[in-house]
Structures are given as C-alpha cells and as structure tokens.
C-alpha cells in the first residue's frame, strides 16, 4: 500500500512539480502569517511581529528547502536541478567551458588511444582456446645460453616424461615455394608437430587441421592460410583434398586456417605472426639429438600454474640429463614461460612507459581544469554566498560544484574518446609492425569502461579542489566585498600547490620525451655495418628436388649473379643466407679457435652467415684487416672465413685475427658439418638482429663452401632501387620459370622497420612532452592572470605610492617563477627517479643525459615566463587612477 502512495508522490514530484511548489509556498506562507498574527495579537507592531515570526521560522526558504529534501526522490530531483543549473552556468562562461573541455578532452583522447593499444597488446587474452594454459618451453644450454630452441628428441622426451603438461607441440618456420600453373610463389612455411594446430583450438575455415595422432609418412599433407587460399586458389570452397605442387612434390591440402589466425610468438623465437603453410614434422624421435631449431609450445593441464609446470620440467630435465650424455654435457634445463607474457616481453616496458606518460598528461589536464574551476569558484564567491543565504547547505554547494565537474568531464570525455579514436588511426599509420596484434586495436567495451573510470576519478579530482576552497570562506565577508579580496595572491594555498605539481609533472614528461627523442636520434645515426641506401633485396629458395647438390646450387648462383650484374643500373651484386634485420630463423652455432679444447670453447658462439663472393663488397661493409672473399674461395678452394671485429677482438685480444684457424660449422649437401678454416679477413660488425643491440660475433663463410638453399640477394644500384624490380623479375622468369622471388624491397625498408619501435616511442613521447608544456604554460598563465586581476587594487596602490611599472612587472613575474622553480626542483628529483626505470628503452645516451636535462630546464622555464608575461605586462601597464577608481 505504502509504495503506491510513494510512487504517486514521486510521480507528482517529477511531473506536477509546479503545483507541488505552489502548494508548499502557500502552506509555509499561511503558517508564517498565522504566526505573525499571533505575535501582533500579543501587542507587537506589524514589523516587530514579522521579525519575531522569521526568527521563530529560521528562514522560510530554508524550511521549504528542508521539505524538498524530505520528498520522495528528492535526490534525483535536486540532482536534475543541479545538472540544469550547471549546464546553464557553464553555458554562460563559454570561454572557460571551452578551455576546460578542450584541456580535458586532450587528456582523455591521449589516454583512449594509448589504453586501446595497451589493452590490445598486453591485456586482451590471445585468440586461442584457454590461452592462459599455453606456455612456451625454452631450452637453456651451457653453450648457447637461455631461450634456445630444442631438438626433435628433446620435444619427444618432454612429451613422454612430463606429468603436468597436457600436450607439447613444436614449430619451426622456414620458406618454401609453390609451383604449378600460376606463377611460382615463395612463402613462409611452418613445420609443426601434428598436435600444434589442434592444440591452439582454432577452428579451420575449410576442411580440418592435422590430428595429434596422425602419421603422414607416405602421404604428405599441408594446411594453408586464408590469405594464400584467397590469393593462389581463388577461395575455392572445395580445396580440401586437392593436391598442390610444393617444393617439387605434390601435397594434399587438408584445410584452410581462419582469416584472422596469427601466431603470437615472441620475436626471438623466429616464428612470425603470418605463416602461409603448415606441414607436419616427421618422427621427432629420429631427428638428430643435437640439431636445435624447434620451438616448443605446451598446453598445461587445467588448473596447473606455470610455477608447477616449471617444477615438473625441472625433474624432466634431470631425467633427460641422466639419460643422454649430450644433454648432461650441455647442462640442459627448461624454462616455462606463459605465452602471453613472453610474447609481450619486449614491448611491455615501452607500452608501460607510454601509458604512464599518458596518465601524467591526464593528471596535468585535471590539475589545469581544477585550477580553472578554482579560479572560477573564487570569482563566484558572491554567487555562492547568495545561494548559501537562500538556503543552500554546504553539502549542496559542494554537490553543485561536483555536478559542474561531472558535466565538464562528460562532455570532455565524449569529445576525448572521439579524439582518441582519431589519434589511434594516426598511431597505426606509424606502423609499428612489431606490435603484431595492432590489427585489431579499437574502441571496445574494456577501453570505454576504463575511460569511464578515468573520467569519474577526474570529476572527483577537479570538482573537489574548488569545493575545498568553498568550505573555508566567510559568508558575510564574501557578500560585503563582492569577491574582490586582495589578500590571496597565487603564492598561497591550493592554487600554488596545483601550479607546482603541474610544473613537476610537466618536467618529468619533457625529460622522458627528451630521452626518447635523443634515443631515436642516436638510432638514426647508427651505422648498421653496411650502407642501406640504393640497395635492392629479394629472396630465392632453391628447391632441393631440382638443385640437388652443392655444385648445382653453386652453378646457378654464379650464373644468376652474373646476369643480375649485367642489368643496366646495377653496380654490384651479392647474396647472403640471412639478410640483416630480416626475420629468417637465425643460424648461430659454436666455433672453436685453434689451441682451445672442446670443453673450453663450449661457450663460444657466433652467428654464421653464408655469403657469395661479392656480398660484403656490395653491402659496402668496411674491411678492417686482411681481404674480402674472391675467386680463390670457391667450392674447390681452401676453407676460409671472414670474421667481424667483435669476434676477432674477443677471441684473439691484442693479436691479428688474419691467418688464425677456427673450427666452424658448414652446411654442405643437406647437413651441418664442422670443419677447420682459416680467417682471411676482419670486417666491421653488422647489426643483424637489431639496430640498437650488438649480440654475438659473426662468421662469414663463402657460399660455395657452405651452400644453403635459401639466399637473399642484394643489388647495389646506381638508380632508384625499386625501378629495377621489373627487370629482375623478368630475368628470373627467363632463367627458371619454377623459381619464386619474394620480399623484393629496398634495404631501407628493413632499416625503417627496425627503427619503428624507437620512432613510435619517440613520436608519442614528443607529443606528450609538447602537450605537457602547452598545458603547463596555460596553467601558469591562468593562475597568474587570475591573481593579477584580483590584485588590481593592490597594484594601483603600489604604483600610486611610487612603484614603477617594472617593479610591478617584476613582482608578478617573481610570483609565477618562484612557483615554477619549486616545481622544477621537484620535477628534477622525479625525473631522475623515472629515468632510471626508462634505462631499457634508452640507446646511445646516459639516462641522465645532460643535454636532455638542460633542454627540459630551459623549455619549462621558457613556458613559465611565457605564461607569466602577459598578465605581468597587464599589471604593469595598469593606470593607478583607473584601478583605484574602479574599486
């Protein structure tokens, strides 16, 4: 029963508001009149009686307000009223509203963009079945260190011995060529254990994937990617079961992976995100025990943690070491790394730093807005005082200010999210392709939820500052002097604290941005060990079925290089098994200098590269000692190598490397064999893996003495490299119709890609730094300007008493600059603390780079002076008579 009447009341309140108000008004007035009558009857004069009644009532408006509060739904109703009032009030001061909304929208926009990336890369679960159960298993060897691949027998041992792993799968990615009626096409091909694809739990678009227990002895099968299916087979829906020519054999297509399927592996696993074909491994147990190249991915049993799986594998490693001398000599251990964490290992510090930067920007935006709101609230003292005397409680006034903050944040949040969406589009244009999953970054529920939380926190932050202020003010004082108090210079109180914190945050951001920009600058200047300009590159795989032996391959390559060199515009030609900065699986192996025992040399490891005779010269890699390869170094010649300077220095310190003998691995007729060679030259180090990292020493072996079937060619050109693309393609078609050429691109493209992480970070950090600067300048301007406008009277008096214009100018400037100086001192401390955690992202400079710090000090000071200058001039130019008269 009760709820019916209550609902009716709420209905009346929301829809018959006017009648309800009239009634309340009537009733209170009637009661007041009755009371007045009573006092008059006691013999008071009419005015005395009314006064007495008012005292008794304690204010008719306050009584009404209390009744309103007692109504059902009073909260909703008065909130709506506050909302309407806030919108009206904000509409009245358009300039203030615009500045605040733009400021906050910038902050929200930056955060929307960055959080979208953070979410997509770091937080969103990988698109596999129960992705949290997936973990990589790395092998650690005494000789090659941690995070190494494994051999087939190791995979098999783990499969059989582990108790907590549900499944263990292996993958290795190389290249292969599709032949047949269409143009030959070279693609990335993954050899996988038969359980690999089914373990990921992805449903194929067509057909099926390999079954875990399936054997493909005599009937080779293949699973292809969606892209290849569309591109090469026109999306033929009946493709499953058809045979296709691949690497000179015929394979049966089992199925097609779905369109968005990608492999999310860490960069150093040499497993790229897009692989066009999957073929099954043979019997793992029969693979050579020490041929380490397989990457292991495992699915832990439900409920098993990575730590438990690690324990399990520790005991497996012990058993394996006890069984095989090869592995005990290497002191083999395993490391379990949850897939998602490991995949994002390299990018995480960058993204966290950028995310923190975006957070700082938002904080500055909030501080700025709080400042503006505060200035406005102080300017509105009289209005607030009037509202208080009309019956508004302290709580009501604070709520009103919070509601204003809420309206501002809602508008700014909406604009900001839209802005962020645009920013994100621009960000993706930077193409940081190491962010493998950036393809599906966007505004989604988690991102919007995060922004909503950020907006609510911002409301509290920016709404509370003025509220704090409004608690301390004196009603009568405010009413009397109409809000023109002259005793509150900006130096004091909350506003000063806001300015100082703004400068502090701004300083930290500018330093961070400076370090990132300097890092990028250093990376730009790095010489990668060759000259990347005017260099065209492409790959060709020689299928083993037709180029069976070393001699056939050597013959092809020799003729082919001669033909390439004859193309007009080509200066020189060469080829290498592993192009620098490319993602072809690395070839690194142990080597042994003469006079060093096998045991001692176990930890000596170098990147091995097979190069044709012209390669180092075509790359313009500098020769430091000895000679380049020449015609002496063909198949029949004496075994020789060229090493890089870092290997030469670490192996023979203080001696010349030329003439020294080392035992290194050669690839010959389909297998790796060790052999003794003589060092004939030393060249500068080539950055094969990363522009900013120098990993291992390098050994270059003449191609004809180690003829790997996969080669990347480089053409040093006199003309724009890509203009030679068509002549090269035509030439290959004439030469061998079944050979495919891929990755035809200028070397500068690899350089750009290698630099893109640093560029991405630097561009974003620069944007954050610039935003922080502008916001800090605006903030300082706002506060000083406000303080000056409050103190025109004081300035007028000072000038009337003989202060010169420059005295006043100095006074005002000092006020702003003292705050800036305090902020910079705090910022310096903060930046020093922060730069230490940025260590991993910095290259080529110290984390306390003096240039960066000096620039930050200068730039922040300049921004502060810029912010103070106009208001100070305003104050200095004021005419004492005018200012005094206006009071």
């Amino acid at each position: 029963m009760k709820w019916i009447t209550r609902t009716a009341s709420l209905f009346r309140l929301l829809f018959r508001k006017q009648r309800l108000e009239d009634q309340l008004d009537d009733e209170v007035r009637a009661c007041f009149d009755l009371l007045t009558d009573r006092y008059r009857a006691q013999g008071m004069s009419p005015s005395e009686a009314r006064r007495a009644a008012r005292v008794e009532f304690e204010g008719t408006e306050q009584v009404k307000e209390q009744v309103r509060d007692a109504r059902v739904g009073a909260g909703v109703e008065s909130l709506l009223r506050d909302l309407r009032y806030a919108i009206r009030a904000l509409g009245r001061s358009k300039g203030f509203t615009a500045v605040t909304v733009i400021t906050l929208a910038l902050g929200f926009g930056v955060n929307t963009a960055i959080f979208s990336v953070v979410y997509a890369v770091l937080l969103r679960p990988l698109p596999y079945a129960q992705p949290e159960q997936l973990a990589l298993i790395w092998s650690n060897f005494h000789s090659s260190g941690p995070r190494a691949p494994s051999s087939g027998p190791i995979v098999r041992e783990i499969q059989q011995r582990s108790r907590l792993l549900q499944e263990v799968a292996g993958i290795w990615v190389g290249t292969g060529t599709f032949t047949g009626e269409a143009n030959p096409e070279q693609v990335k091909v993954a050899s996988v254990t038969t359980n690999f694809l089914s373990m990921l739990g992805v449903k194929p678009a067509v057909g099926r994937v390999f079954l875990p227990e399936e054997k493909f002895g005599g009937r080779p099968a293949i699973v292809i990617s969606y892209g290849l299916w569309q591109r090469r087979f026109g999306g033929d829906p009946n493709i499953a079961g058809k045979g296709i020519p691949f690497q000179g054999a015929s394979l049966t297509i089992l199925g097609v992976m779905p369109q968005d399927f990608q492999l999310h592996f860490p960069q150093d696993s040499n497993v790229p995100p897009i692989v066009d074909a999957y073929v099954p491994f043979g019997d793992l147990a029969r693979f050579p025990r020490t041929l380490y190249y397989i990457r292991m991915l495992a699915r832990m049993k439900p409920g098993v943690t990575a730590a438990q799986a690690q324990e399990d594998l520790n005991s497996v490693a012990a058993q394996v070491r006890a069984t095989y001398t090869e592995y005990s000599a290497e002191n083999l251990t395993f490391e379990v790394a949850p897939l998602q964490r490991d995949t994002t290992r390299e990018i995480r510090p960058t993204l966290i730093a950028l995310f923190a930067g975006a957070g700082l920007v938002l904080l500055i935006c909030c501080v700025n807005s709080a400042n503006l709101l505060l200035a406005r609230a102080t300017g509105r003292r009289k209005e607030i005082a009037v509202r208080a005397s009309l019956g508004a409680s302290n709580g009501r006034i604070v709520r009103q200010l919070l509601v204003e903050g809420f309206v501002l944040c809602t508008v700014a949040g909406t604009v900001g999210v839209a802005l962020g969406w645009l920013a994100l589009k621009a960000l993706l244009q930077l193409q940081p392709d190491y962010l493998a999953r950036l393809g599906n970054v966007g505004l989604n529920a988690p991102v919007l939820a995060f922004m909503a939380v950020a907006a609510i926190l911002s409301v509290l932050l920016i709404g509370l500052a003025p509220s704090l202020e409004s608690f301390k003010f004196d009603l009568i004082e405010s009413l009397r002097d109409g809000g023109r108090t002259s005793q509150t210079p900006a130096r004091r109180g909350l506003r000063a604290a806001l300015i100082v914190s703004e400068v502090t945050l701004g300083f930290i951001l500018v330093v961070g941005a400076g370090l990132m920009i300097r890092t990028f600058e250093k990376i730009q200047q790095v010489r990668p060990g060759f000259e990347p300009q005017r260099l065209l590159t492409f790959e060709i795989d020689l299928p083993g079925s037709r180029y069976r032996n070393d001699v056939a391959r050597a013959q092809f390559v020799k003729d082919w290089e001669q033909q390439l060199a004859a193309i007009p515009g080509v200066e020189s030609v060469g080829a290498i098994s592993h192009l620098p900065l490319d993602d072809y699986p690395n070839w690194y192996s142990p080597y042994r200098p003469e006079g060093v025992s096998e045991n001692e040399s176990a930890a000596l490891l170098a990147d091995h590269r097979a190069v044709t005779i012209g390669y180092l010269r075509a790359m313009q890699t500098r020769l430091l000692e000895g000679r380049y390869f020449d015609d002496r170094d063909r198949n029949s010649g004496q075994r020789v190598v060229i090493v890089d300077e870092s290997l030469a220095r670490s192996t023979w310190p203080g001696q010349s490397a030329v003439g020294k003998k080392i035992e290194t691995e050669h690839f010959s007729n389909g297998g790796f064999k060790p052999g003794w060679t003589e060092v004939v030259g030393v060249v500068e180090h080539i950055r094969h893996h990363s522009i900013s990292k120098q990993l291992r020493g390098e050994i270059y072996i003449p191609f004809e003495q180690s003829s790997r079937p996969h080669l990347s060619y480089v053409l040093r050109t006199r003309v724009e490299p890509l203009s030679l693309a068509d002549p090269v393609r035509d030439l290959l078609r004439q030469r061998d119709r079944d050979l495919a050429l891929s990755k035809l691109r200028p070397m500068t493209m690899y350089m750009d890609r290698a630099k893109s992480p640093a560029r991405f970070t630097a561009v974003l950090a620069a944007i954050f730094g610039a935003l922080a600067l502008v916001l800090a300048a605006i903030g300082i301007y706002g506060v000083v300007h406000y303080s000056v406008s409050r103190r025109t009277h004081e300035m007028g008096v000072r000038m009337a008493l003989g202060a010169s214009a420059s005295d006043v100018l100095r006074l005002v400037l000092r006020e702003g600059l003292v705050l800036t100086a305090i902020g910079m001192a705090l910022g310096l401390a903060g930046a020093l603390a922060v730069s230490r955690s940025l260590q991993g992202l910095i290259y080529g400079i110290s984390s306390v780079d003096p240039l960066t710090y000096a620039a930050a000090l200068l730039v922040i000071a300049a921004a502060a002076i810029l912010g103070c200058w106009r208001p100070a001039r305003l104050a200095a130019r004021s005419n004492p008579l005018d200012t005094i008269r206006t009071e």
């Binding site: 009447t5 009637a30 009584v63």
Partner: protein, 110 residues
C-alpha cells in the same frame, strides 16, 4: 530543552500522529499542541515540522486539506488516515516496549 533535532525521527512522527488522533489540525496547531501537552519540553520548529508532515503525507499516514483557520486565514489541515491510525498504534506499542526496556535497564543499573 531538547531541540527537535535531538528527537529521533520516528519519535517526532509519533508525536504528530498522536496529536492528530484527536482531530484535524494545521501545521502551527500541531506544533502548539505538542508544546502545550509536553509542557514546553518539545518545541517543534517549522524546519522540522514541515518536512515531517510531508513525509507522513507521502507515506499516506495523514492527508491535508485547505480550510479556514481560527482568524479567518487559509491553512492546510491534516487528519489521520487509516494507514496513519495503524502506524500510530504500531508505534505506540513500539515506544512502550522501548520505554519499558530502557527503564528496566536504568533501574538495574542503579
């Protein structure tokens, strides 16, 4: 003299309901009657009285009607409804129980 603010909210409503049990009264009349009957111990001011009246009306315990006051001014007269009578008897019982319990406690204390 205890201010109304020191009264429990429920107590003020009990006082108003009890006052109206004897017949319809306007706001000031309710306040007067309470003051008179409690011999000036409770002086309910407008700021507490009107919100309480409105709450009771919203809950359907009392209903208001405009009528002429003693000196021929208009005033809003409140009278108990059926719901109000039920609430009154319930709250009377509650109060007596509380009163007895508190008294018992105080007596054993001394």
């Amino acid at each position: 003299m205890p201010q109304p603010s020191e009264l429990l909210q429920g107590t003020l409503e009990l006082l108003i309901l009890r006052t109206l049990e004897l017949g319809p009264l306007h706001g000031l009349g309710v306040s007067d009657r309470i003051k008179q009957v409690t011999r000036g111990v409770f002086h309910v001011k407008a700021g507490s009285l009107f919100p309480a009246l409105h709450r009771l009306e919203q809950n359907g315990a009392i209903t208001g009607e405009w009528g002429p006051s003693e000196n021929n001014r208009r005033a809003r007269f409140y009278s108990l409804t059926r719901i109000g009578r039920a609430q009154l008897s319930r709250e009377k019982r509650n109060w007596k129980r509380t009163f007895t319990a508190v008294n018992l406690l105080l007596e054993t204390e001394t």
